[in-house]
Symmetry: C2
Subunit: 273 residues, 2 copies
C-alpha cells in the first residue's frame, strides 16, 4: 500500500478532514487534491491538516484550460495557473495536473489550440519549476477533445512536454484515458526514458457512458482496463512514484466513504499489485 | 451533388420507398443502407426499388462483430457475414462496412480481440472479393473500443487491411470517429496510396454526448469537425468515390425527412464542397 494515493474526487462525499482521517486510518499514505475544495477549506489550513495526518499530497488538479484565443481570456488563464502553482507549492506537492482545454466556441482548429497549450507551457514552466512544481500534461480520452482537452494521446502530451526541460513539464498516465491506444506501451517507455512521468492515475472503463461522459468511470476491476498490465509498463519504464486512484462516479459518492476506500484498497491489491 | 450519398439511418423516419423517392426527387444520387431495414423490406425488392429510382447503393452497413472467443459464436458471426456479403452483392454495392466488435464479456485483451478480427478477414476476404464486394473496416471512435469496435484508429484499420489484398479489404474514413487524431492526414494519404479507401462518411462532432454515446452525431456544420479539410485530404489521397452522410440523431429523426435531406444537401454544399 506504500504507493497508493486516493484522489479526493473518488470520495467526493468526504470533507477534507474526513479525507485526512479516513486515509490515515486506512493506512493509505497519499491523497490527490482538487483546487476548489481545497480553496474552500483554505490552502494553508489544508496543508497543515494533511501534514498533521501524515499524508503526502501526490498531485493537485488542475491547472490548464489554455486554449482560448482571446488575449484577455488567455491572460486570466495564465494568472489562474500561476495561482494554481502557488497552491501546489503550499500543499507540498510537486505535481500540478493540467487539463489543456478544448476548442474555443466555433473553432475547428485543433492544431492551433494545441499550439496555444505549448505557448502557455513556455510561460508557466519556469515559474512552476522555480517553486518546485512540475506541470503535468494529462492527455484526456479523445471523447473530450472538443470541449475539455485537445491533448488526446500520450504521444501528443510527450510531443508537447519534450519541448521543455523535464523538470518543468511532465505527463500524466491515466488508464481511463489511454487504455484503448495500442501505442501506449511504447509511449510509456518513451515517457519513462525521458523522466517525464509525473503521475500515474487509475480508473476502469465501464459502459454505457452516462450523458455528458464525465461521471462514468469504473471502480478498479469493474471494467475493460488491464490495470496490472499498465502498472507493469510503468514499472518497466522506471516509474516508482505514487499510484493515484481517481474515479468520478456518483454511485461511489452515494456510499459511505470509508467503505469506498476499503473497496479501492482491496481492488488495488487484487487488480494492480 | 454528384458524389453525395444519404445513409438511410440519417433519415430513419423514412421507409425504403420514401428514401428512394426522396433522394430521387432531391437529386441525391446515392444511398447507404443498413441490413435490418433492407431485410425487413426484402433484399431483392429493395435492390429493384433503388435501381428503378436510379439510385446507387454506396455501401451496406454492417458486417463484423468478429471478436467473440467462443467457437460457436465465431462460426455464427462468420456465417452471418457471408450472408451480409450476399446481400451487398444483391444490392449492387461493392462495399460492406464492418464494425469489428468489442471485447468479449470479462475480457481485457484488446490485442487478442484485434487478432480475431484479422482471422475473420482472412476467412471472409476471398469470399467477398469473388462476389465483387470489398470488406471495409471502419475504425470507430475510441469511446466504443470496449463494447463495439476494438479498431479505434485509421492506423489500426490499415494495419489490418494491409495484411490482405486491396480488392478484398479496405477502410472507411468517417469524420465522426477520426477527427480528433492528429495522425489522420498521414493515414488518409497512406490509405489512398494503397488503394484502400472504400468509403468516406460524414458526421459532425457535437457535445454533450448523450447517454450511451451512440445517438449524438451532429448535422454537418454544427460541430467541431473541419469537414472541408477532411474532403481535401481525401481528394489529395486520390479518392473520387461517394461521400456519404451518416448522422444518428433523434432530433433529425423527429423532423420531416425531406426537410432533413434538404438541410443535409445545403450543409454539404456549405461545409464540404
Amino acid at each position: 500500500m506504500s504507493r497508493l494515493s486516493l484522489n479526493q474526487e473518488t470520495v467526493r462525499q468526504w470533507s477534507l478532514p474526513e479525507l485526512a482521517e479516513g486515509c490515515a486510518k486506512a493506512g493509505v499514505p497519499g491523497v490527490g487534491l482538487w483546487r476548489a475544495p481545497v480553496q474552500e477549506y483554505g490552502v494553508g489550513r489544508a496543508a497543515l491538516l494533511l501534514r498533521d495526518a501524515g499524508l503526502m499530497v501526490t498531485s493537485l488538479c488542475r491547472g490548464g484550460f489554455f486554449t482560448a484565443a482571446d488575449p484577455a481570456e488567455r491572460k486570466t488563464a495564465l494568472a489562474d495557473n500561476r495561482l494554481a502553482v502557488e497552491e501546489a507549492a503550499a500543499l507540498g506537492t510537486d505535481t500540478l495536473v493540467l487539463v489543456s482545454g478544448g476548442l474555443p466556441p466555433g473553432s475547428k482548429d485543433l492544431s492551433g489550440a494545441r499550439e496555444r497549450v505549448a505557448d502557455a507551457l513556455a510561460e508557466l514552466g519556469p515559474y512552476a519549476a522555480e517553486r518546485g512544481v512540475r506541470l503535468a500534461i494529462e492527455p484526456l480520452h479523445p471523447m473530450y477533445a472538443a470541449d475539455r482537452c485537445v491533448v488526446s494521446t500520450l504521444n501528443q502530451a510527450l510531443d508537447l512536454a519534450e519541448r521543455f526541460p523535464a523538470e518543468q513539464v511532465g505527463v500524466v498516465v491515466d488508464t481511463y484515458h489511454l487504455w484503448w491506444d495500442e501505442t501506449v506501451a511504447a509511449q510509456i517507455a518513451r515517457a519513462g526514458a525521458g523522466g517525464r512521468i509525473a503521475a500515474f492515475q487509475l480508473a476502469d472503463w465501464v459502459t454505457p457512458l452516462p450523458e455528458g461522459a464525465l461521471l462514468g468511470r469504473g471502480q478498479l476491476g469493474d471494467g475493460s482496463v488491464d490495470l496490472r498490465w499498465f502498472r507493469e509498463q510503468l514499472d518497466a519504464a522506471g516509474y516508482t512514484g505514487p499510484i493515484e486512484v481517481e474515479i468520478f462516479n456518483p454511485r461511489l459518492w452515494a456510499r459511505d466513504g470509508a467503505e469506498v476506500l476499503a473497496e479501492v484498497a482491496a481492488r488495488y491489491r487484487e487488480h494492480v499489485l
